[in-house]
């Protein structure tokens, strides 16, 4: 194994191949606080890419109702229970992961630490979706039967990781990371369906196609990315929770790059299970109403600060304006700036793509309408 730098861990780690970062790295930020689990993203992806024979159970994009929802079943819990000692420490004021990654804890004879979902694990795309966790007697009012009176929605696609577990797992080199944009793809002509990638991806975002004996995965809608357009699940997002772009490493962060600003400068968007060691490139603004013990395990040691920053967004016009750019255009916003009460989204050449007022004008109507001499009500 080679030694590579994983900035999300704050240290070097072991990986199957030497460090080789792409010219640009596709990345995204999802705001979990805005997701309403309408699954429009899921359907947009399903309709576009996985409506064929052998793809019936595949959801390259899915939305889970946390803490119970998971697809495949318990994808997160199963690996968390395999991975020992996920402790974070601090060095020079920066968080450093003290535990082992899936690469560093690979058992003898294996390329990574992993597990294989059964067919049945794919049978429930979102178990417990918006359900309470117990039976309700007839006539009873709903009471949450457990201490966790919260849930939130976690939208998931392939993380197009810097150190993909799928790529490391494939003994044939059938999985590759595009040098121009860092998108991770399975070569359908080379794949022989060994399902090692399914075993090795901790996010379980590679799926086996039993009709073609190959494994398939999210391609980040690369034909659209190549034209500067966001993937289907971004463009069709009703809640406008997503923004697509490209991320730099922290030492090369650019304040006018939306992803860099949210991840590196504001540190309001965090990787999903950074302790796995893959340096995933989909970042999440953590839910602000969920107990910190849960979100810290899921998003790492920056969670408390990210929640604090997000809660303070109304007092932070720059952050507010950038959040207003989410879902404002199908084009990929490579640069942004705030001008007064407007957020301007631009392409890589600085040409304006969109401008969005982030403060809606407020109109106050008096309760009594003097003109018509009538008292208004809120009824429609």
């Amino acid at each position: 194994m080679a030694r590579v730098n994983n900035w999300q861990l704050g240290r070097e780690m072991s990986y199957w191949y030497p460090e080789s970062r792409p010219q640009k790295q596709f990345a995204a930020v999802f705001d979990t606080n805005k997701c309403i689990a309408c699954q429009t993203c899921t359907l947009a992806c399903k309709t576009t890419w996985t409506s064929g024979k052998g793809q019936e159970y595949m959801l390259w994009n899915n939305v889970e109702s946390k803490p119970y929802g998971s697809y495949p079943l318990a994808w997160d819990l199963n690996l968390l229970s395999l991975l020992d000692g996920q402790n974070w420490g601090e060095e020079n004021g920066q968080p450093v992961y003290k535990g082992s990654t899936i690469f560093e804890s690979a058992p003898a004879g294996e390329r990574v630490l992993g597990w294989r979902p059964e067919s049945e694990d794919y049978a429930y795309p979102n178990v417990g979706e918006d359900d309470c966790a117990g039976g309700i007697e007839h006539g009873a009012s709903m009471e949450v039967p457990h201490a966790m009176s919260w849930f939130y929605y976690l939208a998931r696609i392939c993380n197009h990781c810097t150190y993909p577990g799928c790529l490391a797992s494939c003994p044939r080199g059938s999985i590759y990371k595009r040098p121009d944009d860092g998108i991770v793809l399975v070569d359908q002509g080379r794949c022989r369906g060994y399902q090692e990638c399914v075993r090795g991806c901790p996010y379980k975002k590679v799926f086996f196609n039993p009709m073609t004996s190959t494994s398939e995965k999210c391609i980040a809608c690369f034909p659209k990315i190549e034209q500067g357009i966001s993937p289907q699940c971004f463009e069709n997002c009703i809640g406008k929770i997503r923004v697509a772009g490209f991320i730099n490493t922290p030492d090369k962060a650019e304040a006018d790059n939306p992803i860099d600003y949210l991840v590196h400068i504001k540190k309001v968007a965090l990787p999903l299970f950074p302790q796995f060691g893959l340096e995933p490139n989909v970042y999440y603004i953590p839910p602000i109403h969920v107990p910190a013990a849960f979100t810290r395990q899921m998003f790492g040691p920056g969670t408390d600060r990210a929640v604090e920053i997000y809660r303070n967004a109304p007092n932070d016009p720059d952050l507010t304006s950038l959040l207003g750019l989410f879902g404002s255009t199908e084009r990929i916003v490579r640069k942004w700036k705030r001008v007064g009460d407007k957020a301007i989204g631009m392409d890589e050449n600085g040409q304006e793509l969109v401008n969005v007022p982030f403060k809606e004008p407020i109109h106050i109507r008096p309760a009594y309408d003097k003109l018509y001499q009538i008292t208004r009500t809120n009824c429609p």
């Binding site: 409506s51 004879g109 294996e110």
Partner: protein, 280 residues
């Protein structure tokens, strides 16, 4: 007197049983026959000498197989001068022929060096510059070739599918449009991968120059047929005679077996080293 009678009976029993049990040879002797058969139960195999290969773990390259399964494979070989057929038989009580997540498939393979050379390639799928030819049989392809539907309902009988775009009403009288739409949702088939179907043979032709280099052979030339026996599989794989192979120019052969229920797939397999392949 009673003692002598008992000895005589024992001797007769021994002689009778010996007439049915073949003593395995150290090499694979290829018997010359008029006609090559793909039927593992054909009578022609009864007269052919038996070779038994002990199998070893593939434990050299990750992912490795660390727990042994199939202990040996019994091999017979025949040729009609142009085609060569191998009958492989091994123990595997479970029948694994349904693909799916965490479902792996019973299979076997024969491997022969592309060139006859005293300096043989590494038995682990050859090495750079020393190609090996591999004929690989799989139980799921056997079932499909024999008529099992190649669709999701064959695997999950209760599966309910709303709609496939390729089967949309407006396309029903346009086979070309249907095929084009189906290909859009099946990238492996769209690439023309023989492996990804539709399948006409349960055997795949491959070449390799070492681990992780396995590639489709230029032509599909192998055939095969496998049958489930009471305790395992009996499979015949046929392929053209290796280039340069003759009575005076022997070659080498190696075997691999995958037990699907034991999560054996790809590099996770039981294998043999090279065994001399001799034309009798």
């Amino acid at each position: 007197m009673r003692f002598v009678t008992s000895l005589t009976i024992l001797a007769l029993l021994f002689a009778t049983s010996c007439s049915k049990v073949q003593v395995p040879t150290a090499e694979v002797n290829v018997a010359q026959v008029k006609e090559v058969t793909l039927d593992p139960n054909a009578a022609v195999w009864d007269a052919v000498s038996l070779h038994t290969s002990k199998m070893i773990l593939q434990d050299l390259v990750e992912p490795r197989l660390l727990e042994p399964s199939t202990s040996e494979v019994m091999v017979k070989a025949i040729t009609n001068g142009s085609e060569m057929a191998f009958r492989l038989e091994w123990m595997d009580e479970s029948q694994s022929d349904m693909p799916g997540p965490r479902h792996f498939i019973d299979g076997c393979a024969v491997q022969i060096p592309s060139k006859i050379d005293p300096n043989v390639p590494a038995p682990q799928m050859g090495e750079i510059g020393k190609t090996v030819e591999i004929s690989y049989w799989r139980a799921d392809w056997q079932a499909i070739v024999e008529g099992r539907a190649d669709n999701i309902n064959a695997i999950y009988p209760n599966a309910s599918i709303d709609h496939y775009p390729a089967e949309a009403k407006p396309l029903e009288n346009n086979p070309q449009a249907q095929a084009e739409t189906a290909a859009r949702y099946s990238p492996a088939r769209a690439l023309g991968s023989r492996r990804s179907g539709p399948r006409e043979q349960p055997v795949e032709d491959l070449i390799a120059e070492g681990p992780s280099t396995l590639s489709p052979a230029p032509n599909a030339v192998s055939k095969g047929k496998g049958v489930k026996t009471a305790k395992g599989w009996a499979v015949v794989i046929s392929r053209p005679m290796p280039a340069g192979f003759s009575a005076s120019s022997p070659s080498q052969i190696a075997f691999a077996v995958w037990e699907g229920s034991h999560i054996e797939v790809g590099a996770r397999k039981m294998r043999t080293g090279w065994v001399p392949l001799i034309l009798k």
